[in-house]
């Protein structure tokens, strides 16, 4: 159980660092561990090894998640990151990450365009990583 807890805490920290440039609040780590125990009481070996490899090698989980989602592969990574997003979205310090507070059309359009370009790059990178590490 202690090992499991350490692994889940590392997961939370790794995923969080990919998306948010701030320290991960303690209560979110606690809840991430508890939520994973509820949502994934038993993870199949393949999924567990995939997540362990991503965390241990500091791989780009965003890219791998996109590749797996588009290829309709394992949903475990998507769900784990989704849990983290739920847990941070309900905290006020993350409000601006989810809700735009600075109105502006050009700025928004440029960011949307950038997001699409970034997605293309992440998709290519993700497909390579999925192939390289045999994540299915």
């Amino acid at each position: 159980m202690a090992d499991d807890r350490t692994a889940l805490e590392s997961e939370a920290r790794h995923f969080h660092a990919l998306f948010f440039r701030r320290p991960l609040p303690g209560p979110v780590v606690e809840r991430y561990v508890a939520a994973n125990r509820l949502c994934f009481p038993v993870l199949d070996r393949k999924a567990r090894e995939m997540v362990e490899t991503i965390v241990a090698r500091r791989l780009d989980a965003e890219a791998i998640e996109l590749a797996l989602r588009l290829r309709k592969g394992s949903r475990v990574l998507t769900r784990k990151i989704q849990i983290l997003f739920y847990l941070v979205e309900v905290r006020s310090e993350y409000y601006a990450c989810f809700i735009n507070q600075v109105p502006g059309w050009w700025r928004a359009v440029l960011r949307l365009f950038g997001a699409v370009v970034r997605s293309g790059w992440k998709c290519a990178k993700g497909l390579y990583l999925v192939w390289r590490y045999d994540f299915v």
Partner: protein, 523 residues
Amino acid sequence: MYDAVIVGSGPAGAFSAYALQGRNVLVLDVGYRPPKIHDLEGNLYALRQQREDLFEELIGSGFEGLHNVHKRNISLKLKSPYMSYIVRDWAKLMPVESRNFEAVASFALGGLANAWGAGVFRFTAKDLESFPIDVADLEPFYDEISNHMGISGANDDLAPYFGAEPHLLPPMRLTKLASDILDRFRMRKAGFERQGITMGRPRLAVLTEPHNGRAAYQYDNLEFYRPYDPAIYNPAFTVDELVARNRVTLRTGYLVREYREQDGGVEVTARNLSSGSYEKFLGKNLILAAGTLGTSKIVLETNRDYESRLPILDNPMACIPLFRLSRIGAALEIHDSALGQLNLIYQGAGSPGLLQGTIYGTTGPLRSDVLFQFPLSIWANLTWARYLSPAMALLMLFYPGSSDSSNYIRLKPDGTLDINYEWKSNQVAERRLIRAFRRIGYLSAAALCQYPAMGSSLHYAGTLPMKASAGRYQTGADGRLYGTKAVYVSDGACFSELPAKNLTFTIMANALRIARKVRASLE
């Protein structure tokens, strides 16, 4: 012996009780209620900025808000911690098996109407063509319920399709986006009408002014998170009011299993969920109002019939996102509502009858509820959600219930309901609507349409349909079940057809009509 035993407290049960109040009436229900709510007052978005952490309120200590992450999808409205009582234990108390129908039932006081969209639609003569009753039979009951619960809206171009409401409260305030859609529609109204599209304001069982002791709506965006908003009508309000005035008796914690007719009445057998024992209740009449699935199960169980396949109706849905490019990056309107903003009717090409659409904003759910449905990377999806939400509306298009004979509900010997419902859109109507909206500056694409699984509309009906000359597993025009002397069906199960409209208001009116006839027979 009671004058009547009513099973269920949803829209049908509440108005059956309302009709029979003052008589010796028993309402039997499981009757779950919301948990105690700790201080969830104010606007959702203001609260999200002001309170450090809304975990308890939006996710819940039991992680209720994560339901769809690890369990079968249910409506976003049913999974938040204070709303999850609506579907508490339903899969245990009424298991359903299906490969293509995502059924949901409620054992809460007030039933699934605890989470309804509050859309109020009268059935027209065309909608009632297959029924053995007509508009004149329902009209006085619609009027009475309208006065009782309070309806806001406008008698506009949609009145011929939704019926004219004599006593409307002022319509709800529109968001900038909805207001813009309506203005642009009005400028090109003739063109839209040539394509069979009519648009107007929705009629909602939502108070825009205080009414019958209930407060007006606050535009606080909390419909997904806080139950029993006094401004949004809930049948539980009526049941509680009748009980408080000693007009009916309510016994909760009972799951009705079956009934048996005997001399002078009906014996109802129900399981006491606390003790596990079975108890019997006697009534001169029995009114089944347990919701379409619940009522069907009771009838089939009573007959020990594990073979018959009853018909079932549900509204197929298509969800079309609409984007207004000029509003990209605008400030989110936080004083909004998750309720319907506009309604439209489509009766053009590709329509298997009259289709009804409701346009919603996007401020109700959390972003995490929808982020992972878009085909970009997570960070890109988050960026799109952040900047595109103020520019986005969702058109939820409802199709009429399909009377295809391959759609059925059956009770298995182990008590599980087996449901089959097949439907596939040919996308003709969606494409036509997308083209029409493009002409007024709202973009979309057929590839972006989403099709919620059958059963997601929660508009279940037609398992024990009313017929002029009823046969086995059918009901008469008075709601009486064929082959019985005093067993009535007053919920959606007795609908003969399901037009593309929310059926709740008509369930209420029909239940009131049927129960008034029962009352007349007692007097």
